[in-house]
């Protein structure tokens, strides 16, 4: 039976509140370890195909608007700041600031998904989505005048682009769900300077998703941008 009301209640199988918090944190870090391996498989595929089809990947990459990717990187970095500010607000008993920071974090998350959606929309318009209508004819390889990308190889780049950014976007949606719950709990006044473990655990998840994006941005958007 769930303990109602006092969220600070120490569950009977823990000796101290500190031990309870450490156990939660350790569990989250183990989960993030599995997430690293989850994304790691995709990064590994990316690495192998990029080394095989270097020029084709570069030709495909330069068709993505790097400014949108850069803007989204900044948006996520700002959201990571608002997450630590939210936790700090809980630690120092500032409920209004905590709620504000949680809302701002979610707005940044929504902005990220909006920009991402616009980017996907452009790729659909250009027929750069892998599948029956995929088209990548006569696209010159950057810095190799007269050489054209193999559409089949470029399609592999776009498949990886959509799978990796799509999986990342799915994590953002899950993160927004977690933060909706955190916002509700904060609104109910469940977080205090003594007890705010869910905020720290949710924050770890959000920062992890930020870290994945920090790697996706240069790998997918910034291949061979020099001319």
């Amino acid at each position: 039976v769930e303990v109602q009301g006092d969220s600070r209640a120490l569950r009977h199988h823990f000796a101290t509140e500190e031990q309870q918090r450490d156990a939660s944190s350790l569990g989250m870090w183990i989960f993030l370890g599995t997430e690293v391996m989850f994304f790691g498989g995709l990064f590994c595929s990316y690495l192998i195909y990029r080394l095989m089809y270097f020029g084709d990947f570069a030709a495909a990459s330069v068709t993505i608007d790097a400014r949108l990717g850069g803007a989204n990187t900044a948006v996520l970095i700002c959201s990571s700041l608002t997450v630590v500010l939210a936790i700090w607000a809980a630690q120092t008993g500032r409920r209004a600031l905590l709620i504000t920071m949680l809302i701002v974090t979610m707005l940044f998350g929504l902005a990220f998904l909006g920009i991402k959606g616009y980017e996907y929309y452009n790729k659909f318009v250009e027929h750069h989505v892998p599948g029956a209508s995929f088209s990548f004819e006569n696209q010159e390889i950057p810095n190799h005048p007269g050489e054209y990308a193999n559409p089949r190889h470029a399609e592999i780049f776009f498949a990886l682009y959509f799978i990796m950014t799509g999986l990342h976007a799915l994590h953002m949606v899950v993160g927004l769900g977690i933060f909706t719950w955190l916002l509700w709990a904060a609104w109910k006044g469940r977080f205090t300077p003594e007890y705010h473990t869910p905020l720290e655990i949710g924050g770890l998840y959000w920062h992890f998703v930020d870290i994945i994006w920090i790697y996706l941005f240069p790998l997918l958007y910034l291949i061979d941008r020099h001319h």
Partner: protein, 101 residues
């Protein structure tokens, strides 16, 4: 208000948070601009070094790994990196040596 007496942190971490935030934004700007320069084979290396620096800043300061006292937690983090290394290194050792013939 009892903010100062109840807080377990002696000094406010806000200065650190904002410094890290500025550094991360600068890193993003830097990686975007550096990509436009022709560094030959080093473009990818520089991009990955900047990305790893940013990831470390997030992990150490925002995810508070720097103050993690739990040895168990350190074991988890180090083994995660180790297993990722195995995944990447052995896969590359495979694909890198397939064309030897």
């Amino acid at each position: 208000m009892s903010e100062h007496s109840t807080s377990t942190h002696a000094k406010s971490p806000l200065a650190t948070y904002f410094s890290v935030w500025i550094a991360l934004l600068f890193g993003t700007f830097l990686t975007y601009e550096v990509a436009k320069l022709d560094l030959g084979d080093f473009n990818a290396a520089v991009a990955l070094i900047i990305a790893t620096t940013k990831a470390l800043l997030v992990a150490l300061f925002f995810m508070h790994l720097r103050h993690a006292s739990e040895k168990l937690l350190k074991v988890v983090v180090i083994s995660t990196i180790f297993f990722l290394f195995i995944l990447l290194a052995l896969s590359m050792a495979d694909y890198g040596t397939r064309l030897w013939s």
